[in-house]
Symmetry: C2
Subunit: 215 residues, 2 copies
DNA sequence: TCTAAAAATGAGTGATTACTCACTTCAATT
DNA sequence: AATTGAAGTGAGTAATCACTCATTTTTAGA
């Protein structure tokens, strides 16, 4: 929770927020993540934040605006760095093998994903019900990721390291496997004992077998 | 919707339910699926079912009992057939290749999955918040599926058709890919244009490359 | 056709909901 | 020290919530 707060401070200190405003955001994330958006009451969030309920509505016209104001900037500020930074880094570094590229991508951002899990959970919970979020998610993340991932894939295809399947399918299948692992691991069955390193390694191997070219 | 009702009648006709009880269940599924459990009101469900609100509470003590009574039997009666029937069928028929097995499994049950989508959506929405459902889901489905899938996998491994990765990992990765496709296709981005047959074929190919042994 | 149990009703319950607003406190500038 | 605008407050509001219960309607066996 302490690391997450640091993360949140970094995320929100551009606009100068008061202590109470930050507490509201932290409390809202915690509550939305635990109970879901609809089952969370503004009075509970206010209580948890140590703030009067009216204070919430001074800064956010509605409860939904509170939700959006949490999720939307995190989509641009948290997900975008994953896409842009890492993939630019990758494009700069030019890994020699796809395995290295996958391992770097997954491991590099796994801890961050774990720390941001409450927010990610909110995102996936609410996207099916909030059209605004769905559109934002699609425009900001899906399109961007796919465009960039496809470029990377084409690069490796040109080097003869990946099979000739259309890049968008390779992208979909690769992302499916990475997210599928994280989803099972941290959202569906977090109570099971997992050997993370081993499962990541197997996921990479599986992807590589699936789309890599044999020597 | 008509086919779904037939399906529901089959599912629930063991207990003799009145017309109104069936209408309540259908309306509850529709509402829960559209808005989520917490955002659905019993008055709305009653209205949609053409029934007095009191009638709901004659048959279900609480709103949560209504949810459980919908999801729980469907976990045993809908998911179990997929596992038991198809996999027994598979064990009886003994497909010669894993591809045929995968294709049969996916295509055979895809239409059913699509028709049951509202319920599946409810399941995945509420499992993170309802411990009862999560435990049931795990005991009834995950354990069962994995035990049976692992048997099938071992069979194919003995025949030299699958690589030597531990069966539970092959099971996890295979299921991840199938569910990952269905999740992207029908829950996250149903509004996109999809070439279903093509994507299924690619998913199968991907799985096969990932875990199949080369001739 | 009569009767008794089951099914269905809908007005009514207190609790909780998101949200408002008149008011107070705080912080910064002059 | 006075002023001012923003931040914060919390009692209050109408609406809605899940749920109850006395009553009526329907169903089914004798």
């Amino acid at each position: 929770m302490t690391e997450e707060e640091l993360m949140l401070q970094q995320l929100f200190d551009e606009d100068k927020l008061t202590d109470k405003q930050k507490k509201i955001i932290v409390a809202a994330i915690e509550t939305f993540s635990e109970k879901g958006y609809a089952a969370s009451s503004t009075s509970e969030i206010a209580k948890k934040a140590g703030v009067a309920e009216g204070t919430i509505f001074r800064h956010y016209k509605t409860k939904k605006e509170l939700l959006i104001s949490i999720v939307a900037p995190l989509m641009t500020k948290f997900i975008a760095p994953i896409v842009v930074k890492d993939f630019n880094k990758v494009l700069d570094r030019e890994f020699e093998t796809v395995e290295e590229f996958l391992r770097a991508t997954i491991e590099n951002r796994r801890d961050l994903l774990i720390r941001m899990l409450p927010v990610v959970k909110i995102m996936f919970q609410e996207i099916p019900f909030q059209p605004e979020l769905r559109e934002q998610f699609f425009d900001l993340i899906v399109k961007n990721i796919f465009i960039r991932v496809e470029k990377v894939i084409k690069g490796y295809q040109d080097k003869g390291l990946l099979i000739d399947m259309p890049p968008e399918s390779i992208a979909r299948l690769t992302i499916t496997n990475i997210l599928g692992f994280l989803f099972s691991r941290y959202i569906l069955f977090p109570h099971l004992e997992w050997d993370d390193e081993l499962e990541i390694e197997r996921t990479i191997q599986f992807i590589m077998h699936g789309v890599g070219k044999k020597d």
